[in-house]
């Protein structure tokens, strides 16, 4: 594996909210094209970790390198990194005052300065991909949760990112809509994009992930390839966690 290009390096990242130590020496190395699933109990710092990667959160110690660029607090650097990183949120965060299509055009036309015509073509292509092209002129709150999340994924893909971050993309969805979103994510994964996904969907992790990372209390406790991770957990905390999520 070492001959593969490195995409993300997090080195000894520490972060505090006031006095509260949220991330404690977090280390992560992710190669180009790798799919990583992060899981762990609520409040363990999973969201904070991936939000540091596109600078939605600042960190106080350590270093982060994204695709060869050191993440520092500089407007240009942050913009450069954000132009390569797409993020899908738990609550979709579509722009309610814009139609689905306009949601997809914002970043390509304003950030990447693409001609509108070309941006529309790309947008329609990705809407097709997430099987929602016929809704292009509707407004987000006329769509179901599953449809909205697929639009949100298409919105990220329109900037042609190297990396996709997913923060519990299915946990705000009604159960019958989870699979339509996961299907889209599986398809994406097959295409070789680098993917970090916070989720508790074990089926998805087993099918797609190259590696599963377990976080607790702001630390990475254990990481392994999925089968070993689920079948042969090493730490007591992971054993307890797996028991809890599998018991229902």
């Amino acid at each position: 594996m070492s001959d593969q290009e490195v995409m993300i390096t997090m080195k000894d990242v520490n972060k505090w909210y006031g006095d509260f130590h949220v991330l404690k020496d977090v280390n992560l190395n992710i190669k180009k094209g790798e799919k990583v699933v992060i899981c762990g109990p609520s409040g363990s710092g999973k969201s904070t970790t991936i939000r540091c990667l596109n600078h939605l959160e600042k960190f106080q110690e350590g270093s982060i390198n994204i695709n060869g660029t050191e993440l520092i607090e500089d407007v240009k650097v942050v913009r450069h990194i954000r132009s390569q990183v797409g993020m899908v949120f738990q609550h979709f965060n579509l722009f309610p005052h814009l139609s689905v299509l306009e949601n997809l055009l914002i970043a390509p036309t304003w950030v990447h300065k693409k001609p509108r015509k070309e941006a529309i073509e790309t947008a329609m292509y990705y809407l097709e991909r997430v099987k929602i092209a016929e809704q292009a002129h509707k407004y987000p709150n006329q769509l179901s949760g599953g449809q909205q999340q697929r639009v949100a994924i298409a919105r990220c893909l329109c900037i042609n990112p190297e990396i996709m971050l997913f923060d519990e993309p299915t946990s705000a969805l009604d159960p019958e809509m989870v699979s339509e979103v996961l299907d889209v994510m599986v398809e994406l994964a097959d295409e070789g994009i680098t993917m970090i996904c916070v989720t508790h969907e074990m089926g998805f992790a087993k099918k797609v992930a190259d590696r599963v990372v377990f976080m607790d209390a702001g630390q990475v406790i254990e990481e392994n390839e999925p089968n070993e991770f689920f079948d042969n957990p090493q730490s007591d905390r992971l054993k307890l966690f797996l028991e809890q999520i599998l018991s229902h």
Binding site: H91, F95, H97, V111
Partner: protein, 359 residues
């Protein structure tokens, strides 16, 4: 084990609702409400007929003031002084200029949404005030100059309100954003300004504008009285607009800011494309409320010697030929104010409805 068949949807039950039912339900449901209803009807009976008689049936509309025989309102006063109420001392031969501005404004208000391209919209917003100013004040294109001292009446009222509304809006937006900024100095300045202005009455701001502003420009420049009032009113209104918009900004979920940041939009792109359109939309009712109170507050400019419509009424009442017509004058001004404010609130409702059906 039991199985159930699917049921057909039935129409909702209809209740018998006639006029009598409505009356009994809403006006006479019990003794207490019946008494209140009767009292209300009596008050209406005591007020409405005499008012209508005075205003319409017994009123005098035409003729000369010496021939009045009816006991009602003598509207001949309004007819006689109508031009002064509308235009102040603006030369009569040039009344077509403010009239044209009025017509253009109406066309713009109702036609703006039909302008297709964004560039054309922005061009209109920038050009329109310039055209209006040139038309009213003259001095270009062979138009005769009319000094601001001659501007007055409803024209001046609307002009002061319109300038106050249009100019205060961008300043208010910037103040609201500055108040939320994480740059401490900027934030402190904005909060300081907003809280200071909100803490003093408009009238003191107008006095300060008319007394203090000339001190800053003492090298002989004659600082126009109207301009001073406009600056004072704009700054005053901006502070209130800022607070209204801040309320709207606070109602926007954090996720909207995060999504626009994550997509790589700059601060200003995110604000202009994503956050402000949503924040302004929910602020419309409060913004219009604030515009309406500004419209009414503009009448305070009479304190610093400008002749708005109310000042014109007071002035014409001191005409020795027309003594004792105060009531007619003030009722007329009241109606004018009411029509203007009511139209504004109706217009805002139509904008809200448009937004609500859009998404």
């Amino acid at each position: 084990m039991a199985t159930y068949t699917m049921k057909e949807a039935k129409p909702a039950p209809t209740t018998n609702k006639g006029v009598v039912f409505w009356l009994r339900e809403n006006l006479f449901p019990d003794v207490k409400n019946t008494l209140l209803t009767l009292a209300g009807l009596y008050i209406l009976y005591a007020i409405i007929p005499p008012l209508l008689n005075w205003m319409i049936f017994d009123a005098t509309w035409t003729g000369s003031k010496d021939e009045v025989v009816n006991s009602g309102a003598r509207w001949i006063f309004i007819v006689e002084k109508f031009d002064q109420f509308m235009y102040g001392f603006y030369p009569e031969a040039l009344h077509w200029r403010p009239n044209l501005v009025g017509i253009l404004s109406l066309v713009l208000i109702f036609g703006f949404k039909y302008i297709g391209s964004v560039k054309l919209k922005i061009a209109t917003i920038i050009l329109f005030p310039i055209i209006c100013f040139v038309l009213i004040s003259g001095g270009w294109f062979g138009l005769e100059v009319v000094e601001t001292e001659k501007w007055g009446g409803l024209m001046l009222t609307i002009l002061v309100a319109a300038v106050g509304i249009v100019a205060s809006f961008p300043i208010g937006v910037v103040l609201a954003l500055g108040r939320q900024s994480n740059m401490p100095i900027l934030r402190t300045l904005c909060i300081g300004f907003i809280e200071f202005v909100r803490g003093v009455p408009l009238i003191t701001i107008l006095f300060m504008a008319s007394v203090l502003l000339p001190l800053f420009f003492h090298d002989g420049i004659e600082f126009n009285k109207l301009l001073r009032a406009l600056i004072g009113i704009t700054l005053f209104q901006a502070a209130y607009i800022a607070e209204v918009i801040r309320g709207g900004l606070q109602a926007i979920p954090k996720g909207q800011y995060e999504a626009s940041e994550a997509l790589g939009l700059t601060y200003w792109q995110g604000m202009i494309l994503i956050i402000l359109p949503q924040a302004l939309k929910i602020s419309i009712p409060n913004l219009v409320g604030s515009f309406i109170s500004l419209f009414k507050d503009t009448t305070l400019v009479l304190i610093i010697g400008l002749f708005d419509i109310l000042a014109m009424v007071t002035l014409t009442n001191s005409d020795t030929n027309w003594l004792g017509y105060e009531v007619e004058g003030y009722v007329f001004v009241t109606l004018i104010y009411w029509v203007c404010c009511f139209s504004m609130s109706q217009y805002s409702k139509s904008i809200e409805r448009k937004f609500n059906t859009e998404h």
